[in-house]
Amino acid sequence: MKRAPAWRLAAVLAAVLAAVLVGCAQPELRGTGDLGLVVERAAGRVKLIETSGRTALATIAGLGDLSHASIVYSRDGRYGYVFGRDGGLSRVDLLLARLDRRVVQAGNAIGGAISQDGRLIAVANYEPGGVRIFDAATLEPLADIPAAFGDGTRRAKVVGIADAPGQRFVFSLFEAGEIWVADLSDPRRPQVTRHRDIGKQPYDGLITPDGRHYIAGLFGEDGLALLDLWNPQAGVRRILGGYGRGEEPLPVYKMPHLRGWAIAGGHAVLPAIGRKEVLVVETAGWSEAARIPVHGQPVFVIAQPGGRRAWVNFAFPDNDTVQVIDLPSRSVVKTLKPGRAVLHMEFTARGEQVWVSSRDDDSVIVYDPASFAEIARIRADKPSGIFLSSRAFATGF
């Protein structure tokens, strides 16, 4: 028997390779609407998950230090922008399940936002304190907004960055006690409006789903600071001043987060800081309507779509528990123990599932929010934030 000549072998190989490539070039088509990313904070990776079959599809590595990482989505829902603690800004492709591009833009970052038109990414930095603006397609730097305050030589840590209608970003300066509104209509020439003396040590902020009100939580004193973006000339107003009523707050082992808060029937629910309470605020006059005693100091108070209930997780050392609050009756209707160190919760857009991360049990648990039944459990390495692609279409996410 004669051996096949080398060229024939090569031709066969090439044909096989071409077939494989053609196969790859025509993968099964899919959308990204049921996809999401889960941060594996210690390993510097994200897990790509899907909420239709509730499975993990892939793991994407090389994203740096992801403590306190957060993610926003491109307006077509294809890319997730991951903001890492180490100043890394990474663009992850959900369809190809890979890191698309990455820049390290600062020494220490806290989060970011995407502009109303989806063309700009803003990153909030601790070190050097300020905001940097990037082209969402190329990650090319476009503008730098140093958070200088006082005599201009000190720079504040930037917290609570949110996108607002009109190509604006709103954020707070921790050490300075200021709220800034940056208009990026011209991406290379930000126009910044400063609101001073808004209160001591704003630690996080949120924008209401209608894009009208920006609210900063204050660590250094009781109360929150409210800016009406429809009437910015009226300035920043203090709301819920003295909600502690002089009581001594508890030590805070983890800062609460304001994003994801619940609004229902003219009321908003927020985590109280230094208290084992959830605050209920009426949104017409922004005054306190009630406080609901809960299991520990709340970290996230997340609205179930539709706003009937809110899910609450807690700071160390009460972080093995999640409570569900019924908003009409303002009472706790369920207490769950999903696992050790519950860090985050995320609802699907229509509210038929809620995903919960348990860092110390290396798990993400999916619940049916109606029956509280566990419907799936996915292994993940020290999971923290869960970010579903439906965030692409919501102001403030």
Binding site: R41, A42, D65, L66, S67, H68, R85, D86, N108, I110, Y126, E127, K157, F174, K200, Q201, Y203, F219, G220, E221, E248, P249, L250, P251, V252, Y253, K254, M255, G274, F316, P317, A341, R359, D360, K382
Partner: protein, 111 residues
């Protein structure tokens, strides 16, 4: 500013620096050491960064702590710092454990 700091000072004044676990000056037992390392990385890390390079709280890497007084750092860990976001940890750490944690930070957290 009051917040928890007054609370911490009061507690401190009332109870004195009594070691919660009374572990003595010796290093904590092996199992507890693993727990402490986990706690430092994860729970201290939520403010100081997982790799201790800083966040809302300052960096706690060896270079940042080299010139600082160990006893004072230990005091801050146990009792927090008035007027700042640094909470007291004496409910969760004995004196000896806090001293061990400070040494750990000064040497650098193991991987």
């Amino acid at each position: 500013m009051r917040r928890w700091s007054t609370f911490a000072i009061l507690l401190f004044a009332a109870a004195g620096p009594v070691a919660a676990g009374a572990a003595g000056p010796a290093a904590p037992a092996e199992a507890r050491r693993a727990e402490l390392i986990h706690m430092v990385r994860q729970d201290c890390g939520s403010c100081h960064g997982l790799s201790m390079k800083g966040g809302l709280g300052p960096p706690l890497v060896p270079a940042a702590l080299a010139d600082k007084d160990a006893a004072q750092l230990q005091f801050v860990v146990l009792h927090g710092r008035r007027g700042t976001a640094m909470p007291p940890w004496r409910r969760f750490l004995s004196d000896a454990e806090a001293a061990w944690v400070v040494e750990l930070l000064r040497k650098g957290l193991p991987e």
